[in-house]
C-alpha cells in the first residue's frame, strides 16, 4: 500500500504488514485517520462568527489543533473528526464566541467507528 507522507515521499507498506492503531501508526501525517476522537464528544463547540474576532486563541489552546484559520475566507474552521469536546477552547475564547452544544442535537458530524479504536 503506497502512502504519501508530506515531506517524506512515498512509503510502500505491504497489505499483510499494515498494523492497527496501538502498534505502529504511519506518522508524521497531517490527520491520523486511524485515531479519530470525535466520538469522545458529549458537547461540541459552536462558533458565532459575529462575536469571533479571529484572535486565534482557540487555535493556540486546542490540544488537538482543531481550530484552523482560513485566510482566504477570514474564518476559523473547526476540525470535526478530531475535536474531542474537551471545551478548553470555549473556556479560553475571550469574546464569548464559542458555546457548548450537545452533540445529540446534530444528526451527523461524528465519525462512526466499528470499534473504540
Amino acid at each position: 500500500m503506497a502512502k504519501e507522507l508530506p515531506g517524506y515521499g512515498t512509503i510502500d507498506v505491504p497489505k499483510d504488514r499494515v498494523v492497527p492503531f496501538g502498534a505502529v501508526t504511519p506518522a508524521p501525517v497531517c490527520q491520523q485517520d486511524l485515531f479519530q476522537t470525535s466520538n469522545w464528544r458529549i458537547v461540541r463547540p459552536v462558533k458565532d462568527d459575529e462575536k469571533c474576532t479571529r484572535c486565534l486563541i482557540c487555535y493556540l489552546s486546542c490540544p488537538d489543533a482543531c481550530w484552523v484559520y482560513k485566510e482566504e475566507e477570514d474564518v476559523m474552521e473547526w476540525v470535526n473528526n478530531f475535536c474531542k469536546g474537551c471545551q478548553i477552547c470555549i473556556q479560553e475564547c475571550p469574546s464569548g464566541a464559542l458555546t457548548a452544544v450537545p452533540e445529540l442535537d446534530f444528526p451527523d458530524g461524528v465519525a462512526r467507528l466499528d470499534k473504540p479504536f
Binding site: 469522545w40 464528544r41 458529549i42 474537551c86 452533540e103 465519525a111 462512526r112 466499528d114 473504540p116 479504536f117
Partner: protein
Amino acid sequence: MAKVHEITVWARGVIMDKEGRDVINIFAQAAQMEGKFAQAFDNYEDLPDRVLVTVRKYVRLSDEEIEHKYVYTNDKPEVVVITEATIVKGIDILRGMEKGGTLIINTNRSIDDMLKLIPNANLLGTVATVDADAITGVRTVDFSGSEGGVDTSGIGKGIASPMTGAIAKVTGMIKKENLAKIVSDVSGMERGYNEVKIKKLG
C-alpha cells in the same frame, strides 16, 4: 454448557468509569444472589484512563459454571447498556448482537429520537430509556474504587443505581429486591425501576 448471557455496558473513561463499573458489579452480584453464575470484567481493550473515551464493561450470566475465564470481551451481547447517550452516535454499540436484543440508554430524549441515531436498530427487540442523570441530580466525578483502590463512596452512588433498577425491569434478569440489598441509593434504584420507558420493536 448452559447458555451464557452477555451484557455489555458502555461508559466514558474517567468521568463515568465508576458508574459503568458499578453497574456490572451490582448486576453480577444481584444475579449471584439468585443462584446464578456470574462474571464481571472491566478495563479491557479500551482506554479507561482517558477522559471521555468510550469504555466497555462486561457481565456474563449462566445457570451453570462459566468455564471460559480468559476471554474478557462479549462478542454477542444480548443486552447493551449505554450510560451516556452520545455514545450511540459515535460507535457501533450493537456490534455482534443477534436479532431481538435489548438496548437501555440513560437519556432524557425520546426513544424514537435515539433510534434515528442507530443505523442497525433493526437488530433490536426492545429499547428502553431512563433519565438516570435527572434521578440522581448533578453527576459527581468520583475515582473511588478505581484501579483496585478502596471504594469509599459506596457501590451504586450516582447513576448506577437508577440504571440497574431500569435493567431489572427491562430484562427481568435480576430482581429489584436483591438490588435493594446491594446499592447505596435504594430510592434512586426504585425510581429507575419505575420510571424507565420501554418500547418493543417488531
